[in-house]
């Protein structure tokens, strides 16, 4: 009991300290994360962005964050608390915060809100997102070049558009190199269960895959690849330390530049709600240094990255849907609305989409 009390007391003390340190002339920018910042994945990368803001804007800004906020009624309270505590600009970083933010934004018209990966906007609520599928196309090309068995193992979390879009883009990239390339897909039904991700990686390798791709957050799958002397791609952050001989590259999220520009705009008084979908060209989607691959593959990956940064969209026709029916005509580019609601596979994916 004593321990618990001491822990409680120190937390309260820390909180009140943080509150008293608040200076009136500073802009207070706040973040809400759905995971722990110690996940070394999605929420971790958002928090790295927050730290970059602190570093770049120094004493013009004061930041705060709430982590482990569950998506649902809890989120309402989190946003409201931050707004009441004097946050002037609030970033909600998870899709599931959408309705909570819309509601709280209406209640606090003077506070600026931004929401990541959603689609609802308001007078004081902007949205932002990153085109991770651009990077996944490059991963697909590298996988097709580097795989000896012609089969990749793909570990995925939940069948939401973001994930489906990633699988499609990866396969389009891979099959642009090797039309017979296959991916074995395993749904682990969790964003975060290192043990299960490791088990899935082992199962995929045992069944003949020799490259692992993931749309889950932990380093577990890459560590299995390292142990088995095979290869794989990192996710969200650069995981090279965990798999120095296995990581080919890592698809990383870089929110820092965006956050800095938005907080700066808020300080200058030029902030307006916006709707941006950032990609490789904006520096929000980055591929970690290419490692463990020959120079020609590296050159190809860099060239594709440049092409995408130059404005080319991986979802450019002709592309057929999985059942063979036409989707995009030759030269036709998928519109953002279709991509954001993607619930079908393209031709060549060897899996049944869970509905």
């Amino acid at each position: 009991m004593k321990k618990l009390l001491i822990a409680l007391m120190t937390t309260t003390a820390a909180l009140s300290l943080a509150a008293s340190a608040e200076a009136a002339d500073k802009l207070k920018a706040c973040w809400v994360y759905t995971g722990p910042i110690g996940d070394f994945g999605y929420s971790y990368q958002h928090d790295q962005g927050r730290l970059e803001v602190e570093k770049a804007l120094g004493d013009k800004v004061e930041t705060a964050y709430l982590e482990n906020v569950s998506e649902g009624p809890d989120a309402d309270r989190a946003f409201e608390r931050l707004a009441r505590e004097g946050c002037k600009l609030i970033f909600g970083t998870s899709f599931g915060f959408m309705d909570a933010e819309v509601k709280v934004a209406k209640k606090f018209p003077k506070v600026m809100f931004e929401h990541a990966t959603g689609y609802k906007t308001g007078d004081n609520l902007g949205i932002y997102n990153a085109r991770f599928y651009e990077g996944r196309y490059v991963l697909g090309q590298i996988a097709a070049k580097e795989s000896k068995s012609g089969v990749a193992g793909y570990i995925v979390s939940f069948p939401i558009p973001e994930v489906v879009m990633g699988i499609n883009s990866f396969m389009l990239g891979a099959q642009s190199i090797n039309p017979n390339f296959k991916a074995k897909i395993v749904w682990v039904n969790s964003w975060f269960d290192p043990g299960k991700e490791a088990d899935a990686a082992k199962a995929l390798f045992d069944q003949g895959a020799d490259i692992i791709v993931q749309h889950t957050d932990s380093t577990a799958a890459l560590q299995v690849a390292e142990e088995r002397k095979l290869h794989g791609f990192g996710q969200s952050s650069d995981m090279i330390k965990f798999a120095p001989n296995a990581q080919l590259t890592s698809l990383t999220d870089e929110w820092g530049p965006y956050y800095i520009s938005r907080v700066q705009a808020a300080i200058d008084g030029t902030w307006k709600p916006d709707n941006v979908w950032l990609g490789i060209k904006d520096g929000a989607v980055k591929l970690a240094p290419y490692t463990n691959m020959p120079d020609d593959v590296k050159a190809m990956a860099e060239a594709t990255g440049k092409k995408i940064a130059g404005g080319w969209n991986p979802f450019t026709g002709p592309i057929a849907k999985q059942d063979g029916s036409a989707w995009l005509k030759d030269g036709e580019v998928a519109d953002d609305g279709t991509l954001l609601g993607m619930n079908f596979y393209v031709k060549g994916v060897d899996d049944k989409l869970p509905q």
Partner: protein, 306 residues
Amino acid sequence: MDITVNILLTIATAATPLLIAAIGELVVERSGVLNLGVEGMMIMGAVGGFGAGYLTGSPWIGLLAAIAMGALFSLLFAVMTLSLATNQVATGLSLTLLGLGLSGMIGTSFVGQPGVRLPNLDIPGLSSIPVVGKLLFGQDPVFYISIVLTAAVMWFLFKTRTGLTLRSIGDSHTSAHALGIKVIRYRYLAVIFGGACAGLAGGHLSLVYTPQWVENMTAGRGWIALALVVFASWRPWRVLAGAYIFGAVWIGQLHAQAFGIPVPSQMLSSLPYLATVVVLVLISRNKRLTMMNTPASLGQPFVPDR
């Protein structure tokens, strides 16, 4: 053949932490105490094990630290429920919540750092025998500990006088007290043993299974261990069977997906839980035996001289 061996090895790795945590909790519950804090003690073991291994560079020190951390953390539960006679359910739940939060705080600086891995057993000659070599002589040390531990607990509970005393306390602490048995002392030791086991299970996660530290990395395994104890109707060998059935179906469903079996993945994901429950219910159909095995004073606080 290789694939079968690999699958069996993967199953053993998945089942080991469940088995160890469940065996520990079984002893605790046999003494009549219900500790719902397994998840919390496990994650404390995971962070302690990773931290000590990372700082000293020795996975063995890490493993010892994991055990110590789990035991120390369970002591908190023991003081509350045994000496202060608080409600065991509420205290256990808060132990889990506290563990999840505290471990995150302790582990802040370990995030994103590669840790150390406990090496697999490698006996020259024996480990390289085809098929059985790897299964019998080439696994991680914790796997062997888990098997020995299960056998030892089985022997202790049913073949020793102390084990009999422990079970009698679990069935009726007032009678045991009347006979002059030191109920609280026994329970303290049982709870600490359970904590040490949960800590070891956590250490297996962060030093063998997935050598890394991330918050919430136990991902509910403590709860599965708790459920296993109940479904196994407090029999050690059934806990072993349950952990391995769970592990087998857990790994099997991943293989089924990779193989391309057209069953919805959500359905497959729920199979391990379903299969374990069904099998354990089937093997414990005998109502009389099950009732005999259930510690009668489970979860009731004991306050002598009231």
